[in-house]
C-alpha cells in the first residue's frame, strides 16, 4: 500500500484517504511514527493503518500496551522530543483517559515553555454513531476539546478533505485532535491524488452554494445535510451547506458571510445539544450577525441524552427529515 504511490490512481474511500495520507507523510518525514492499539500487524480495527507496519517496520508503527493514558503520554513525550507521532484512539469512547495529557501537556507545552518545547502530534479518533456498534463505540464528543486553547480540532467529511487535512494536521507544529466520522469511512469513493498537498487548517468549506438559508455542519452529518439540501431544492429552496471541518480555531468568517447572504442558519450536529459545539456557532451569530438574521437560529442535534445502544440510535441522530423540518421552520420567518 505504501508502495502503491506510482500505480494508476483509483477512487478511494475516506478511510483509505487517511491511510494514504499517513503513508505519504511517513515516506516524506522520518520523524512521523504511528502508534495505538492494534495499529500494527492488524492494521487497526478499522484498517486505517493497514499495510503501514509492513511498509515502514515496527519502529515506525507501534502497537501499544492497552492503555489510553499510556498512548497519550508516550505521544506527548515523543512529540516534545522532536518526533511527530500520530496516535490512534481506537474509538471515541476510549479517548477520555487521554484528556489529562491533551489538556495539561499537549495543549500547553509550547505555552508553558515559551516555545522551548512543542508538541507536534496528531490524535486520530474514529468518531460518532450509526454503525450499530457496541456501547462506547458511537460517541460524538468533540466538544470536550473545543474549550481548550492551544489545540486544533479537525473533522473531515470527504476522502479528499480527509487526505488534505490529515497531512496538514501531521505537519502542523501543534497538537491536532483529528476526529474521523466512522459512519462515512466507506460511504463513497473519490479520486484523491497522492500528491502530498495539504489543505489549510482553520478554514470552513462551502460545499454547496445557496441563497435562502445556511446549513452548517461537520463530520458524518454532512451526508444528511447535503441530502436535506437536495430535498429542499426540490421545493425550490436554495440552501448553502458549510462543512466546518476545522472546529477550533474556528473560521467564523465563512459562516458569517454566508448568513449575511441568507439570513437564516440551521446548525446540525450529532452530539447532544446543550453545550455542543453548535452552541459556539449560534453564539457567534448572536454576537456578530444579529442584524443579518431574519429568523432564529436552529440547532438540529442529538438529544441531551447518551446515544442509545444501536436498536434506538438512529432515533437519536439528526436525520434528513429533521434538518428539512428545521429549515422550513427557519423559512417560515421573514
Amino acid at each position: 500500500m505504501a508502495e502503491q504511490k506510482t500505480s494508476a490512481p483509483a477512487p478511494i474511500t475516506l478511510i483509505e484517504a487517511i491511510t494514504q495520507a499517513m503513508a505519504y507523510e511517513m515516506r516524506n518525514d522520518d520523524s512521523v511514527v504511528v502508534l495505538g492499539e492494534d495499529v500494527g500487524v492488524n492494521g487497526g480495527v478499522f484498517r486505517a493503518t493497514a499495510g503501514l507496519q509492513q511498509a515502514f517496520g515496527d519502529e515506525r508503527v507501534l502497537d501499544t500496551p492497552l492503555d489510553e493514558t499510556t498512548i497519550a503520554g508516550l505521544t506527548v513525550g515523543m512529540a516534545s522530543q522532536g518526533m511527530k507521532p500520530v496516535a490512534e484512539a481506537q474509538f471515541d469512547g476510549f479517548m477520555y483517559p487521554m484528556v489529562d495529557f491533551i489538556v495539561c501537556h499537549a495543549a500547553r507545552m509550547r505555552y508553558r515553555t515559551r516555545g522551548r518545547l512543542t508538541c507536534p502530534m496528531v490524535l486520530r479518533v474514529p468518531w460518532g454513531g450509526g454503525i450499530r456498534a457496541p456501547e462506547h463505540h458511537s460517541e460524538a464528543n468533540e466538544s470536550i476539546f473545543t474549550n481548550v486553547p492551544g489545540l486544533r480540532v479537525v473533522m473531515p467529511s470527504s476522502p479528499a478533505r480527509a487526505y488534505g487535512l490529515l497531512l496538514a494536521a501531521i505537519r502542523d507544529p501543534d497538537p491536532v485532535i483529528f476526529m474521523e466520522p466512522k459512519r462515512i469511512y466507506r460511504q463513497y469513493k473519490e479520486l484523491v491524488p497522492d500528491d502530498g498537498e495539504a489543505l489549510p487548517l482553520d478554514v470552513c468549506y462551502v460545499l454547496r452554494d445557496g441563497t435562502d438559508l445556511t446549513l452548517v455542519t461537520w463530520g458524518a452529518q454532512v451526508k444528511e445535510t447535503l441530502e436535506a439540501a437536495d430535498a429542499l431544492a426540490k421545493d425550490g429552496i436554495s440552501a448553502e451547506v458549510i462543512d466546518v471541518a476545522t472546529l477550533t480555531p474556528l473560521d467564523f468568517d465563512t459562516i458569517a458571510e454566508s448568513v449575511a447572504k441568507t439570513g437564516r442558519c440551521v446548525i446540525v450536529h450529532e452530539a447532544a445539544k446543550t453545550a455542543g459545539f453548535g452552541a459556539e456557532i449560534a453564539a457567534r451569530l448572536a454576537e456578530e450577525c444579529m442584524y443579518d438574521l431574519v429568523a432564529p437560529v436552529e440547532r438540529v442535534t442529538g438529544y441531551d441524552t447518551h446515544i442509545p445502544l444501536f436498536r434506538l440510535e438512529m432515533k437519536y441522530l439528526p436525520s434528513v427529515d429533521k434538518i428539512v423540518a428545521a429549515a422550513k421552520r427557519a423559512l417560515a420567518h421573514s
Binding site: 492499539e37 492494534d38 500494527g40 500487524v41 492488524n42 492494521g43 480495527v45 502497537d63 500496551p65 492497552l66 492503555d67 493514558t69 499510556t70 469512547g93 476510549f94 477520555y96 483517559p97 450499530r132 456498534a133 457496541p134 456501547e135 462506547h136 463505540h137 445539544k273 446543550t274 438529544y303 441531551d304 441524552t305 447518551h306 442509545p308 445502544l309 444501536f310 436498536r311 434506538l312 440510535e313 432515533k315 437519536y316 427529515d321 429533521k322
Partner: protein, 358 residues
Amino acid sequence: MTVAAKFEIEYLQYLDADGKAVSELPKAFKDPKVLLPLFKQMLYVRTFDTKAIALQRTGKLGTYAACLGHEATHVGIGASMKPEDVFAPSYREYGAQFMRGVLPREVLMYWGGDERGNDFQGPKNDYPWCVPISTQCLMASGAALSFKLRKQDRIAVACCGDGGSSKTDFYAALNSAGAYKLPLVLCVINNGWAISVPRKSQTGAQTLAQKGLAGGLHCLQVDGNDLIAVLEAMRRATERARTGEGGSVIEFMTYRLHDHTTADDARRYRGEDEVKAAWTREPMLRLRKYLEKAKAWDAKQEEAWLEECGRKVDVEINAYLETKVQPVEAMFDYLYGELPAELAAQREQAIAWEKRNG
C-alpha cells in the same frame, strides 16, 4: 547484599491437559460430585456461545464477544462467589454470570443493542458488562471499599484480560485495594491476546500475577484451563478477602480460541498452529477425561445434556428475539432520577416527532 524485600509467586495446576493429576488434588475439589455440575455448566456456556455466534452471523445479533476456551476460568470464578458478593465482569464472562443468575437473554439483549440487557433480574448489585477496559476493576475496588466501610461480609470480584492488566485503572484498583486492604479479587484472564496484540507486547513482566506486588496484594498464577486450579485459587483468594487479609491478583492462563469478537478476524495476526495447539489444552477436554475416568460422566450423558442445553438456550434466544424495541422516550427515562424540566421538553418533542415521522 542487604535485601529490602523478597517475593515468590506460586503456580497452581492440578489436572494436566490429559486430565491427569499432576499434584495432590485439594480436598474440597476432589469429589466429582462437586465438579460435575460445573462441568455441565461449562458445556451449557459453550452451547450458548456457539449459538450466539451463529445468531450474529445471521444478522440477528450485533457484535458479540465469544468466551470459547475460557469456560473453566469463568465458571470456576462464578462458582466461588456468594450471591451477596459483587461481580464486575469485562464483557465475556458469561460462565461466571450465569452461575450468578444473569439470564442468557440478557446477554443477547445487550449485544443486540438494548440497554435492558444490563438490567439483570438476578444479581441486582452486579455490574453490567464493561466496555472501557479494566475500569470495572477499579469500580469493584470502590464496591469493596463500601463493603469494608459498612462492615458488610461481602467481597468484590473483578475480571479483566491480559491486555486489561496494562490499563492504568487496573493498577489503580490494585493500588487502592492494597492501601485500604480491601476484600477484592482481581482476576486477570490471560488468554494470550488483546485483539491482535500478544501477551508479550503488553509488558516486560514475567507474569501478570506479579503486578499485584505493586500494591502489596497476594499473587497467584494458575492454569485457567484446569477447573480445579481455578477453584482452589479462588478459594484461597476469597477466603483472604473474607477474613480481612486483603486483596489478590490471580492470573488465569487460558487461551482465546475464537476471534476477539465477531467483528474481528484473528487470521490476520495469529498462526493456525498456535490455535491448534491451544485446542489440545482447552478446558473441557481434560475435565471430561477426568470425570469419565472417575466414572462420573460418559458420552451418552453428554449427548443428552447437550441436547438439553440446546433446548434451554433456544428458549432464551426466542425470548430475546421477541423483545420489542424500547419506545423513543426510553432515552430519557433512565437519565436522571427525576427528569429535569429541560429534558422533559425534549422528551415530549421526541415522542411527538416519532408520532409524526417515526
